[in-house]
Symmetry: C2
């Protein structure tokens, strides 16, 4: 296809999370120093490639969840939290590098993807090396707990991506499949970030468990928002044409809802587009989404997940991490509100 | 290219290692049961794919090194050894799955590669999932030692593969580069197999260190042999046309030696072939290898590494693992001897 193919994630600018993230500035600075130091551990040929990826890492939501879930006060972050934040970020970066190969994406956050910059072959191995380094850092904790958690999560993330890849370009996907995929591919890393942050922050087990549940629902909400933004985002914010998920045959929640709500003959046309048998008529689909109330339906799903996330923390109001974690939910609500309910306008 | 592109490794039949491997039969059977049990841990969509890979795993040299390095007697293997054998084998399988994407290989041991069977996208993720599962098993040991060792080795294996990939189709490679690449991509997993086997087998640190050194040199020897077999193997044994390394622009030791020994004008022609500017004249190159004594030179390098491997164990003659490890060196010598000194005949 001739359009510039850009990854559908990372729709918002770094400023969106500004309120919470301002307090995390020193933490993120320490994380950055830590990540840069890791580069020395790579063979010379990989160092530049790894550096390139760390540069493009974006908003660092997962490290933020680690720091916030282990939050005590505004003093310097515990070194354990910095290390584990690096672990989850490196796992995330590794999956992005591999995703971009799959999607044949050209750009990520306005920069050429590693796959385009170094070739898909090198990108496969670069992702492997980033992932191996993440596990290497995880193994430096005194017990095997971090390693166990990270390797298990990574397996789930891969599983989610595989299921998504196998279903691409088919309509063989139900709402349940969609939720299972995003639970695996996105919510799992959000969950483990909150789990490890609260655990290493020294919080009691009952909070660790509830913070993990919070992370999971926040992750589901975030992915649904991300999929919604692919159709309803403002092009200048998301830096790409709308509807890339439809173009690439990826059936997300907005498309599932639209399929459900279209009359039979119209649905057949949409199915042809998903199957790649004809080019998507994007303006028509966006208009249909508007007419059938897809935005409100999908935004409602985000809201439902956010409510579950908040309720997971409701018995821990007095704990230092809770107000800041709650604020993340409001931030995401605000982001959903700033999408266009009338798509593509 | 129209020839069937088959992975250049695994040239020998399983029988070649028969003498040593006969005693390992119960160990390999336990490993197989253990690996099959792991499949249950994968999401349903990946289970079949993972099963397919485990089926094609070949000779299981690395698990053999684990069992032999931790050898006490003919009784049932320690469960720790079975687990760690599974870890190194899964890491190896993950790298094969990713290698086959890179090489666009059709077949591995007469079976379609995972990349051909499921598509390169799914194969990227399948490799990731196998690797994540390996680390998950590694994290189940009581201490972080296995995780640390395995994640570090994997990083090195990836580094070796990256350097090799970046140099493919160029003549920008020295003898030192070649040895560095095979040290990273092959010898590292051989080394760690001996390290973990002897360590978990309860042997004293000085033996663990020497066994690791043995493994490293055996690995280097094995890779040089493998590269030699790509030109001097018997086609019926290796199940593919000779010279795939040259066809794919991979400069291995036989080619480095040939380049060194060819007169200037002939060398220029070979360089053109490596750079992919003209199709390799394989029978000519094979004949030149014969005339310039490439076989003897490269076989000499295998021999030199095997001598170093054996000398690493020379002060431990009384220990149970040593005679069997030594026998592996003789087996590899025998395999080199069974190649054709006159290539392609």
């Amino acid at each position: 296809m001739s359009v510039t193919n850009t990854r559908p994630s990372d729709h918002s600018s770094a400023q969106d999370f500004a309120t919470v993230f301002a307090r995390l500035k020193p933490h993120m600075a320490e994380l950055d120093v830590f990540l840069r130091k890791q580069l020395a551990a790579f063979e010379p040929e990989i160092r530049d490639m790894a550096d390139y990826c760390i540069d493009t890492s974006g908003k660092r939501i997962r490290p933020a969840l680690v720091f916030l879930s282990g939050w005590q006060d505004d003093s310097a972050p515990l070194s354990d939290l910095v290390r584990v934040a690096a672990v989850v970020e490196l796992v995330h970066l590794a999956t992005l590098v591999h995703d971009d190969i799959m999607d044949e994406a050209d750009l990520r956050r306005s920069k050429r993807t590693a796959s385009r910059e170094y070739g898909p072959e090198a990108a496969v191995l670069l992702g492997d090396a980033l992932f191996a380094h993440a596990l290497h850092l995880a193994a430096q904790f005194p017990t095997t707990e971090v390693c166990l958690a990270v390797s298990d999560s990574t397996r789930k993330v891969c599983a989610g991506e595989i299921v998504q890849t196998l279903r691409r370009g088919t309509i063989n996907i139900t709402r349940e499949d969609y939720f299972r995929v995003i639970d695996l591919k996105t919510a799992e890393l959000f969950r483990i970030s909150c789990f490890l942050g609260s655990r290493l922050g020294g919080f009691p087990p009952v909070f660790v468990e509830d913070a993990s549940r919070f992370g999971r629902h926040l992750g589901i909400a975030y992915q649904i928002y991300d999929d919604l933004a692919d159709f309803f985002g403002k092009e200048k914010n998301i830096g790409k044409t709308l509807g890339t998920d439809l173009i690439s045959g990826k059936v997300t929640l907005p498309l599932l809802v639209l399929m459900d709500r279209l009359p039979v003959e119209e649905r057949a046309g949409l199915v042809e587009e998903i199957l790649g048998r004809r080019a998507p008529d994007m303006s028509k689909r966006l208009l249909q989404m508007h007419e059938t109330g897809v935005f409100a339906a999908v935004a409602g799903e985000v809201q439902a997940e956010l409510v579950q996330a908040e309720s997971a923390l409701s018995t821990h109001i007095g704990l230092a991490p809770v107000p800041m974690l709650m604020q993340l939910c409001d931030t995401l609500r605000h982001q959903v509100g700033s999408l266009r309910a009338i798509p593509g306008v």
